[in-house]
């Protein structure tokens, strides 16, 4: 089975992210592989382990984004490709999907492309379905359970009402949610292998596609309004007294 997993490098979820002088800053917080993408890498490796094959991790970005690819390699991906081109900046999701779809086609013979459900920086959650649409493959988004049997696949997708069980034929695009199961930690051997790996960089010219046009622009990025709030600490002589006072306060807000 030939598998591609698409990953992104993002500021750690514990980072305090602010806008300073019009630029996004995450202080000295580390850049890490997008946490959702770890589930995608885990799912990809599990499929490879069950059915044999190869897992190729891909990302779009600069040299620094190789760290996300190295994390995937250390977890057990077989190889990685960095898609890097000066034209690939400020991309919206459909532009990103065009580049990823082109890369998946260039890799060729791919049976499955795995994504995390969304990136925790831009929070769009659109790229998996858009890539699927461009490839004309089924989009099996928000998958929590994946079972491949020959060229058929059955997934359970997380939706508002519970899980929707869907079958489809490969090739397909999958996006993964957290209840797929914990991603493995990179092994010591994996980390050694990843640190030595040669990661080729593909430019748009090498992929044979023009720079995709983005149509979404971001005229202003802001810090959210601060919550001017002082906490009123409720005290009392007994839990009952405290609870009664707190219930009265909440009811007085007239929002229940």
């Amino acid at each position: 089975m030939k598998i591609v997993v698409c990953v992104k490098q993002v500021p750690d979820s514990a980072a305090k992210v602010v806008v300073e002088n019009g630029k996004i800053s995450w202080g000295d917080a580390p850049l890490v592989i997008n946490p959702w993408d770890e589930y995608a890498v885990e799912a990809a490796i599990q499929q490879k382990e069950a059915l044999s094959g190869t897992v190729t991790a891909i990302t779009i970005g600069g040299e620094g984004s190789k760290d996300a690819l190295k994390h995937a390699l250390a977890m057990g991906a077989d190889n990685a490709i960095l898609i890097s081109d000066p034209a690939l900046v400020n991309m919206d999701t459909q532009a990103t999907a065009q580049v990823l779809a082109a890369a998946i086609q260039k890799i060729g013979g791919v049976d499955a492309a795995f994504f995390g459900r969304q990136a925790i920086d831009s929070d769009s959650g659109l790229v998996p379905a858009q890539t699927a649409r461009l490839l004309k493959w089924p989009a099996l988004t928000l998958s929590a359970v994946i079972k491949v049997d020959g060229s058929s696949v059955r997934v359970a997708r997380g939706v508002e009402e519970g899980r929707q069980v869907v079958t489809a034929k490969l090739p397909a695009v999958f996006s993964l949610v957290k209840d797929f199961g914990e991603p493995r930690y990179p092994s010591f051997m994996g980390i050694r292998k990843a640190s030595r790996a040669e990661i080729p960089a593909w430019s748009l010219a090498e992929m044979g596609i023009p720079a995709p046009a983005s149509v979404i622009t971001w005229p202003e990025i802001m810090n959210p309004p601060s919550r001017e709030i002082t906490c009123e600490v409720i005290t009392g002589g007994s839990p009952t007294e405290i609870a009664e006072a707190l219930a009265d306060k909440i009811l007085a807000e007239k929002v229940l």
């Binding site: 979820s13 992210v17 602010v18 946490p35 919206d92 999701t93 459909q94 925790i120 920086d121 831009s122 769009s124 659109l126 379905a129 858009q130 699927a132 649409r133 089924p138 989009a139 099996l140 988004t141 059955r154 359970a156 997708r157 997380g158 939706v159 508002e160 009402e161 519970g162 899980r163 929707q164 069980v165 869907v166 489809a168 397909a172 949610v177 957290k178 209840d179 149509v215 979404i216 622009t217 971001w218 005229p219 202003e220 990025i221 802001m222 810090n223 959210p224 919550r227 709030i229 906490c231 009123e232 600490v233 839990p239 405290i242 609870a243 707190l246 909440i250 807000e253 929002v255 229940l256």
Partner: protein, 338 residues
């Protein structure tokens, strides 16, 4: 502006953010609501009552279950023929996915999970949270049609006007050999969905630390911890039940195995915005705060007076949640007459 609104539903019951989207559409001009499914004519009637001027109803066995490809093809064909200026979707799992696909089919972009929208000189600028709400960004789109998904509870739900009607137009479902087949559903335990909830009661790691409890013998350390957490979450659920609230949890509580992942609130869980958010035994890690900071009234119950959650809270109780929670449940039962 000629606005179309996709009405997201499950087996004929609309997700409320669909009606909020009709409300937004009405502020911009006329609204055509899109109702896709099988046996969903009643839903079309409800769409009129929430303000739709016209309903495009695709009622077809092929649309009996939501399937991205079949729904997107139907939508894409209608939009290519009808040329709307703006397509609005609720930011639900289905709404987000259909918007994503429609943008590819119609060669345009998506402004996703929007919480504010300004229209001036025929141009729309939206605001949406990024980094789970740690930042906000304004967005515009240079191509047509505009596609926007609206976050639930960010816009007011219009009043339902019983008996109001409009033009019902029956349209055909796209035909074709769609690659996915729906086998069925396994539904969640029920209860109130987090993203639609007006009130949420959430538990964190602190919920497992009741020193007064002795776990049954024969459990190992981890099992004993889970057992204690389940007793603690029972208190959270009792309060939630009295308030008609949804049950949430911190990532720490989910990672520790106390509650399933769909209950997680935060940057890698659900982003919620209820009227009241009651945080029990949650210290307030930045990734949790990002997921609930826009709640109207935040209440924190925690034994640690220095916990960061108190910085966002309107009301706080520094104390033992195992005593406060049952007392609070009893107080609400009495005051709400339940």
């Amino acid at each position: 502006m000629n606005t179309w609104v996709y009405v997201d539903h499950f087996k004929g019951t609309a997700l409320p953010a669909s009606w909020e989207a009709i409300g937004v559409g009405k502020t911009l001009g006329t609204v055509k609501a899109l109702v896709f499914g099988q046996g969903v004519e009643a839903l079309a009637k409800t769409a009129f009552e929430y303000g739709a001027d016209e309903v495009l109803l695709a009622d077809d066995p092929a649309l009996a279950d939501y399937r991205a490809e079949a729904f997107a093809a139907t939508l894409g064909k209608l939009a290519a023929d009808g040329a709307p200026d703006l397509l609005l979707f609720p930011t639900t799992t289905r709404g987000r996915e259909l918007a994503a696909m429609a943008a590819i089919d119609l060669k345009t972009g998506v402004m996703v999970d929007v919480t504010a929208l300004e229209a001036a000189d025929g141009k729309i600028t939206v605001t949406r949270p990024i980094y789970a709400g740690k930042l906000l960004t304004k967005e515009t789109c240079s191509s047509k049609p505009l596609i926007i998904t609206l976050r639930g509870r960010a816009f007011p739900k219009p009043a339902q006007q019983a008996g109001k009607s409009g033009t019902l137009t029956k349209v055909a479902a796209a035909t074709g050999d769609f690659p996915t087949k729906v086998e069925g559903y396994t539904t969640s335990e029920g209860g109130v969905s987090l993203t639609d909830a007006g009130v949420i009661v959430s538990g964190g790691r602190g919920v497992s630390n009741n020193p007064a409890l002795t776990p049954p013998s024969g459990l190992d350390e981890k099992q004993a911890e889970i057992w204690k957490a389940q007793q603690g979450f029972a208190l959270v659920k009792e309060l939630a039940s009295v308030l008609g609230a949804a049950v949430g949890a911190s990532r720490a509580a989910v990672d520790a195995g106390y509650v399933p992942y769909p209950n997680q609130v935060g940057q890698t869980g659900k982003v919620v915005s209820p009227d009241v958010y009651i945080a029990c035994g949650i210290s307030g890690a930045i990734q949790h705060l990002a997921g609930m900071r826009t709640s109207k009234v935040i209440v924190a119950i925690n034994k640690d007076a220095e916990a960061p959650i108190f910085k966002l809270a309107r009301y706080g109780v520094v104390g033992d949640l195992f005593q406060i929670l049952p007392a609070l449940t009893a107080a609400f039962k009495k005051k709400l007459g339940k």
